[in-house]
């Protein structure tokens, strides 16, 4: 029987906010890993073998065992690698609260954001309204806290952080300003970039904008 390869591998795609969550978590825990950039139009055998059910990134492979779904991966990383910080708090109620809001980001932000990026006219207006509503709900939850996890940077911060690079794109396509609509959220977005784990995992907003402008030109405006 083959001995499973030791270490951590991350199968990912540069633009994926879900992949970025894993990168942030691994960086928070100072875990060394091998990064594999996947071509999603031509998925590798390793990806298909490691995530046969969904065939999606991100996947982490730890000592030969694969774990899928970004928030599940982040919780796994938190449990397996002690590091200097905890991603989830120890109190069960606080944990359930963090999971709820991370799940809210999962359920709402990507779908609503994608709608905005792909639509025009009336549909775009509606998608815009919906996304701003979601951001406002998140801002209410954040309140006056430094992070969603209060003093501790945690699961919800990691879940939402990658989308801050998309703010500029949402604003440009939707015709709104995150700073104006959700000043506390905008401030949080700037604050988290002071963390090394976030700074090195996130993209320049212009890079995200360039990608989606191209896609929009080809598929939406054509």
């Amino acid at each position: 029987m083959a001995v499973p390869e030791k270490g951590v591998k991350l199968l990912d795609s540069w633009i994926s906010p879900f992949g970025q969550r894993c990168r942030i978590a691994l960086a928070e825990k100072e875990v060394e890993y091998e990064y594999n950039e996947e071509d999603l139009s031509k998925k590798s055998d390793l990806l298909l073998k490691s995530n046969p059910v969904h065939k999606k990134i991100p996947v982490i492979i730890h000592d030969g065992k694969s774990i899928c779904e970004s928030l599940i991966i982040v919780e796994y990383i938190d449990e397996v690698f002690p590091g200097k910080t905890n991603i989830l708090p120890s109190d069960p109620y606080a944990r359930s609260h963090a999971r709820f809001w991370a799940d809210f980001v999962d359920k709402k932000v990507y779908d609503s954001g994608s709608k905005l990026l792909k639509s025009k006219g009336k549909e775009l207006e509606e998608a815009n309204k919906e996304l701003i509503g979601i951001f406002k709900t998140l801002e209410t939850e954040l309140g006056e806290k430094k992070y969603f996890g209060d003093d501790a940077f945690g699961l919800v911060d990691i879940a939402f952080a990658p989308f801050t690079s998309w703010f500029y794109t949402f604003e440009a396509f939707g015709g709104f300003s995150v700073e104006e609509e959700c000043p506390k959220l905008a401030a949080w977005g700037k604050r988290i970039k002071e963390r090394e784990s976030v700074a090195k995992s996130l993209h320049e907003p212009s890079k995200v904008y360039d990608l989606f402008s191209e896609i929009r030109k080809k598929f939406v405006d054509a």
Binding site: V53, I67, E75, Y76, V80, Y93, S96, R99
Partner: protein
């Protein structure tokens, strides 16, 4: 019981998501007050404790609400960890990740299609939902073989997070079988899941919770009629 220890659960009898919370509470031997709600006329309590989604189940522990069924089950497992009852989530982090994966799979790939089969009267949507539901069940059969390692449950000898997540969906599938004549849990295609469903029905924590398929068939008739009256969002989560 001190007020801060009181446990309440807002729910509806037919919801597979509410069932999860009930089974978990029963498994841990937790006494709780069940507060049935009317999703066509949601209570103040529900709206107060789940303002984001306004859905059931909602667990209220003392005065603190916990929402979203899988999150509720994990909370129950963590709070009543030392009750002398079995753990719902496995101890090993990798096994835990796998259990969470399959529980999430039930929510992403099985539940939405069940919802369509309950609420929709559009032929195309129903046909699509049937196909997707069959595919999901086949996938879960494969998962069961791997997870159970020859034993009766996803958790082996005792029920775990995945068993609870899948919990009362077989009751709904039995209801769909009666209504539509399609065997979603089929002895030839999904023999292990058929056996699992039988075993699960006899688990003490689940016995009283799982609804009878005939009652669900009646409910669907009511849902179809109600849908003609209102398009209010009465889905459970």
């Amino acid at each position: 019981m001190a007020k801060e220890d009181e446990v309440k659960l807002i729910g509806v009898w037919r919801s597979p998501f509410v069932a999860r919370a009930m089974i978990a509470l029963n498994l841990k031997g937790v006494e709780y007050e069940y507060l049935p709600d009317d999703l066509f006329n949601k209570s103040e309590l529900l709206l107060k404790f789940n303002p984001v989604y306004k859905l059931v189940p909602v667990l209220i522990h003392g005065d603190k609400p916990v929402c979203e069924s899988r999150i509720i089950v994990e909370y129950i497992d963590e709070v009543w960890a030392s009750s002398g009852r079995p753990s719902i989530l496995p101890a090993d982090p990798y096994d835990r990740a796998i259990a969470r994966f399959w529980a999430a799979y039930v929510d992403d790939k099985l539940a939405p299609h069940c919802r369509v089969l309950v609420w929709s009267n559009d032929e195309k949507s129903i046909a699509e939902a049937k196909e997707q539901l069959l595919a999901a069940v086949l996938q879960l059969e494969e998962a069961f073989v791997k997870c159970s390692k020859g034993k009766s449950f996803f958790g082996g000898d005792t029920i775990n997070f995945v068993d609870i997540a899948l919990g009362s969906f077989p009751s709904w599938m039995k209801a769909f079988e009666i209504i539509m004549g399609i065997n979603f849990l089929d002895k030839t295609k999904t023999p292990r899941l058929v056996e699992w469903a039988e075993c699960f029905r006899s688990v003490v924590a689940a016995k009283e919770v799982l609804p009878e398929a005939e009652k669900l068939v009646e409910y669907r008739k009511f849902a179809m009629a109600a849908r003609r009256v209102t398009v209010a969002d009465a889905a459970t989560k």
